[in-house]
């Protein structure tokens, strides 16, 4: 695997993160590193602290203990879980792309094209379908040419086909922009197919490693139960196809 070989200094490193909110321990002793062009996926049941971890990495939550280290020159592109746009706020796609900083027209067009929504520049945000909306969020995250792309369950509310297309796009984008990707996901078998490194979270990191290792670990099977057998089957099927 080319990605595991090009290690070196990580782009982003979290060390012994611990987060309490309102006296409640949400996350404990989290260590993670994100390297160049690597796709790291966070999985875990609801309430396991996935979104909290992502918010801490982008600086929206201050950790109670531990630290997040990132080279100041590195840029983060962030795709939120969903964005509630108040109906009283008029917003076109191209205006949204230029928030908070203005960009060249060609750059906006390029980012939209790379996210697969080049025709939507003049559309109103409120008229987009769920899939188009997520693509526009992705395009906005791409416009600053990020070194790290962070996605927080960006496929929520999309249908099966939409989810598969979206992840295919992420793979393409990773190659075009040569950026590292950190994403939270519920779609277990997509995760198993695209990730280089999987972190299984439940208040702390209960197992991590290459997808096949995580999928066969007892901790993971305890958390995801019956879904795992199926996921593992899909994964092994693919492996077999590759070998043959």
């Amino acid at each position: 695997m080319p990605h595991s070989m090009n290690r070196g200094t990580p782009l982003l490193r979290a060390t012994q993160l611990s987060i309490q909110i309102g006296g409640q321990q949400i996350l404990e002793d989290i260590n993670l590193a994100l390297h160049c062009e690597e796709i790291v996926t966070l999985i875990g049941p609801n309430g396991s602290g996935k979104s909290t971890l992502v918010k801490t990495l982008i600086g929206a939550i201050k950790p109670t203990a531990g630290s997040v280290a990132m080279d100041a020159k590195r840029r983060i592109g962030y795709v939120p879980q969903r964005l509630h746009l108040d109906p009283t706020l008029p917003m076109t796609v191209s205006r949204f792309m230029n928030l908070p900083r203005r960009h060249q027209r060609v750059d906006v067009q390029q980012a939209l094209a790379n996210a697969g929504v080049e025709a939507l520049g003049n559309a109103a945000m409120s008229q987009l379908s769920g899939g188009q909306f997520q693509r526009v969020l992705l395009a906005r995250a791409l416009i600053s040419k990020p070194d790290i792309l962070i996605l927080d369950e960006a496929t929520q509310g999309l249908d099966h086909r939409g989810v598969a297309d979206f992840y295919k796009k992420i793979e393409e984008v990773r190659q075009t922009y040569r950026c590292a990707v950190l994403m939270v996901s519920h779609d277990l078998h997509v995760v198993m197919r695209t990730a280089d490194h999987v972190l299984c979270l439940n208040g702390r990191i209960c197992c991590e490693g290459k997808p096949e290792r995580v999928a066969s670990s007892p901790d993971y099977q305890a958390l995801f139960g019956d879904q795992t057998a199926q996921t593992l089957a899909v994964y092994q099927h693919r492996e077999a196809a590759h070998a043959g």
Partner: protein, 267 residues
Amino acid sequence: MLDDFMWRAALAGVFVGLAAAPLGCFVVWRRMAYFGDATAHAAILGVAMALMFNLSIFAGVLIVSLTMAACVTMLSGRGYAMDTLLGVMAHSALAVGLVAVSFISGIRVDLNAYLFGDILAVGKNDLWVIGGGTLLVLGLLFWRWSALLTATLSDELAHASGIQPRREQLALTLSLAVVVAVALKVVGALLIAALLIIPAATARPFCRTPEIMALVAAAIATLSVTSGLRAAYFFDTPTGPTIVSLAAGLFLLSTIITQGWQYLRQR
């Protein structure tokens, strides 16, 4: 020109409309209507304080409104049911203010002027204060515009772009207190929130971007103020309520036009 009270009134009204309209857009987008009400109603308490301690009305109102806005902002992060809390604060501020004014003896206080405005009594000094306040608010909004918009869309999106949503909220809080202080003389404490919200709500259906909405709202506010002033003079009605009635009429017109158009398009 400034010696004519009608010109002074018109200028004061246009200034206040220009400051209130873009700020009002944020009040609408962020669902802060009650927040505006609480801050505006606190102005009456500010009047009482100013009379008690012999401050200028402007300073008294600014201090109390700022305190009120800051209190609400701080409490808002602490898990109270926000609309209940703001309802309590908005009406308590008004009630306590009215009681406080009634305690001040010796000075005849024209309460109506503070509740409903007294735009025809705007003096040259008032005009300077109102103009200065307007410039301050417009400058602050212009400076923070993109950051404010991003923070309005989503806290996380703002953080990821290096913007601190709490700091942007502070800019809005400050602007709101200044607008309340300068608008008190023009439309009065009870109707300031109307001047914030109605032009923005009227503009919404005709706009595709936030900037256009702010501009259209400013134009609608200016139109309401100037025509309201003329109408009040002509019909001899109270000025503040006349201005707001005209704004409400424009809102109704905008709603009928857009709803009618949608109805026709669907047929």
